[in-house]
């Protein structure tokens, strides 16, 4: 029987109070301190929710991230915010990152930046989320390197690796790279040069963080993982994430998960319908039987920012109950 984990994925939903505080702050009605206080309150409640659901790793919910790339504009010289772009097939938009100059990490501000965007503590095991360098290179408007493999390499070496090392020092035990592009926009396969660069970059990142006892996962979502799974399993990562709202389990039978963890996206983060617990449990049993991963981590298929917070809370509670049924076996 695989080791069973459960945790959140990506950005969590903001409560109505926090949403209002952000709008009031934009309009000058509340101070930055008041906004921070509301955010901390949301995070405290989210941490309590995860603890009561007995989730394996704690996440701060990325509640002050406007999108997966925005925080990096403050710490990476050479990155700027571009136009609003729809985030895949959602009614949500992100600002396209623009690589206007060679990337340079502002290390002098790193401590402050990490405190602002990655809340952890000495207690519990924490999880952090970063964008996958492959995904970043595909969506960025790059006027500096003008070469995706070079950009993948630069973003990993200059940005992700130092940040990951610092996160390990802050009690982060699991680092999840978000990678929707590979399974949505890559239906004919990744460009070979891009893939080679990604493979190499992940290898470098993985080697550095393994020294710090940090588990590295790459989560794919919004698309069918089957066509990309072969190469994904060969990457030097500890876990691969799959969106089972988009992927047929039967199509994964021939893949070997013996040496890999599986992040099982088994709840739909984009619909408010709360899944039937018995159906989810039955499905997870089938996943175990079919794939027999070394470690099975249960999560939602994507970020819970795609549902209102009260719904997100119920999904987390369901996740906890499903995981508990396997932990007790």
């Amino acid at each position: 029987m695989a080791e069973i984990n459960a945790f959140l994925t990506g950005l969590y939903a903001r409560s109505e109070s926090l949403s209002k505080a952000t709008q009031d702050h934009d309009r000058g009605r509340v101070s930055a301190e008041q906004l921070t206080k509301q955010r901390q309150s949301d995070q405290d409640q989210l941490v309590e929710l995860q603890k009561s659901a007995h989730l394996t790793y704690l996440s701060d919910g990325l509640l002050n991230w406007q999108d997966l790339f925005r925080p990096f504009l403050e710490i990476v010289q050479g990155l700027e915010a571009g136009p609003l772009v729809r985030f895949f097939d959602n009614n949500t938009f992100y600002r396209q990152p623009v690589v206007a100059a060679p990337l340079h990490l502002r290390r002098e501000n790193l401590e402050t930046w990490l405190s602002q965007y990655f809340r952890t503590s000495a207690h519990g095991a924490w999880k952090a989320t970063l964008p996958s360098p492959y995904f970043f290179a595909q969506v960025a408007h790059d006027t500096a390197y003008r070469d995706k493999p070079k950009l993948i390499e630069a973003f990993t070496e200059i940005v992700l690796t130092p940040i990951a090392e610092q996160l390990a020092a802050r009690n982060v035990k699991f680092l999840q790279l978000q990678e929707p592009w590979l399974v949505t926009c890559n239906r004919v396969g990744a460009a070979p040069a891009d893939w080679r660069a990604f493979d190499k970059a992940i290898g470098t990142l993985g080697k550095n963080i393994k020294k710090k006892n940090l588990v590295l996962g790459l989560h794919t979502y919004f698309g069918d993982a089957a066509p990309a799974l072969g190469p994904l399993l060969e990457l030097d990562i500890d876990a691969v994430g799959i969106d089972f709202c988009e992927t047929d389990l039967e199509n994964l039978r021939s893949f070997d998960f013996a040496e890999k963890g599986l992040i099982c996206g088994c709840l739909d983060a984009r619909n408010s319908w709360i899944e039937d617990e018995a159906i989810v449990v039955k499905f997870v049993e089938r996943v175990q039987e079919t794939l027999a991963p070394r470690v099975l981590s249960l999560s939602t298929n994507a970020d819970l920012e795609f549902v209102p917070e009260p719904v997100a809370r119920r999904k987390v509670q369901l996740l906890g109950r499903v995981a508990a049924q396997f932990s007790s076996k």
Binding site: F244, T247, W273, E275, I279, F306, P308
Partner: protein, 382 residues
């Protein structure tokens, strides 16, 4: 007689005096001054409004009156800017999704969702088969009919956008599995049923009621159409279901999408007179009527090749920016587009989308320049 019909897409910003009065918040002197200044510009007898706005508290009846005044201002803004066809800038409505959903049965709001940055909207779940409480735009239409001096174009949110922007807790119950081809088929079937029920039960009765009340041009707003490329044929099916047999000029508004995804499926649209498409957002601000000058209008070539010769509501104003398009730029965008489409009667110059995110000052100037630019284009083309 003018070669072109000009119009705005739908929404205008709501004036502060309307927002504060309806929300029961105190008005400032600047709000009342704004009502006066714009009233003068639009040649409205605004004194009764100023008297109303001086009240310390607003009753439900007072708030309704303020909304009606806001409609009048919206209509006059568009009319005095010189547009051929108008409405009221959707002053009576809360928002293009919230308004129809809150006036329908079978939906419950689930809470706030983030669109981008710190912009949020309320999202509902379908919890029962959608049904109409009563047609939700007829009273508004009748009010505007009485005050408008120009022909009207009524905007209404289409079925595809309504379901795509909603959660599904009703039809999704039919999905009994996870992580399988069968589960995906069940989900697709559930989604199609949801869509066609909304088309038949919500949108179609609204269209019929509006036509019965005298509407001759209805614009169906479908910003979500290309969100799921594989569902464009489904959108076409829902439009045809919504409008079949109804005698009216129907146009579809599309914006900020990959328009390539519409082809070839949109050639199967029936009973569709035109497509209103946002182009200016993607275009250069340089003058010129050559292809290299007008990168935002590439889709026109595909539109020109369709079997259906749709009228094109040509977006010539960028609604995401306070940049005031010079009339000459508008002229060149129109002249170029007529060159591509081959027939000026196929072009109606318009804004890319609603001007809700722009101040009235900016919106008014943009629309005035739209009209002036159209006149310049006519001089070139005649």
């Amino acid at each position: 007689m003018s070669l072109f019909t000009t119009y705005e897409i739908g929404s205008l910003a709501k004036p502060e005096w309307r927002v504060k009065a309806v929300m029961g918040r105190p008005l400032e002197a600047s709000d009342i001054e704004s009502a006066k200044v714009w009233g003068e510009r639009f040649q409205i007898d605004y004194q009764p409004l100023l008297t109303l706005l001086q009240k310390k508290e607003f009753s439900a009846a007072d708030k309704e009156q303020v909304r009606q005044w806001s409609s009048l201002y919206g209509v006059r803004l568009l009319e005095t800017a010189g547009l051929s066809v108008v409405y009221d800038g959707e002053q009576q409505r809360s928002e293009m999704y919230h308004y129809p959903v809150s006036h329908s049965e079978g939906f419950e709001f689930r809470g706030q969702m983030r669109s981008f940055d710190n912009k949020y909207y309320q999202k509902a779940a379908c919890v029962a088969e959608p049904k109409l409480k009563k047609p939700y735009h007829v009273e508004e239409f009748r009010t505007i009919q009485k005050i408008a001096h120009k022909p009207l174009k009524v905007p209404i949110t289409g079925a595809y956008t309504l379901i795509d922007w909603s959660f599904d807790e009703y039809y999704a119950k039919a999905v009994t599995q996870m992580g399988s081809a069968r589960a995906r088929r069940e989900r697709q079937a559930a989604r199609r049923k949801f869509l066609l029920d909304v088309a038949k039960n919500l949108v179609r009765p609204n269209l019929e009621a509006l036509v019965q009340a005298g509407a001759t041009w209805i614009q169906i707003d479908e910003p979500a159409v290309t969100t799921h490329p594989e569902e464009v044929p489904l959108f076409v099916e829902s439009f045809n279901e919504s409008t079949r047999g109804i005698k009216c000029r129907f146009t579809i508004h599309l914006c900020f999408s990959d328009y390539n995804l519409l082809f070839p499926h949109i050639d199967e649209l029936e009973n569709c007179w035109g497509l209103t498409i946002g182009f200016a957002n993607y275009d250069s601000r340089k003058l010129g009527t050559q292809r290299a000058d007008r990168p935002g209008y590439e889709t026109l070539y595909k539109l020109a090749a369709l079997r259906n010769r749709f009228n094109i509501g040509l977006g010539v104003l960028d609604i995401h920016s306070d940049f005031i398009e010079p009339p000459e730029l508008v002229r060149d965008r129109i002249v170029y587009s007529v060159k591509v489409l081959g027939d000026p009667s196929l072009v109606c110059p318009a804004s890319d989308c609603g001007l809700r995110t722009r101040s009235w000052e900016v919106a008014y100037q943009k629309l005035q320049n739209l009209v002036e630019g159209t006149q310049l284009a006519e001089q070139v083309l005649r």
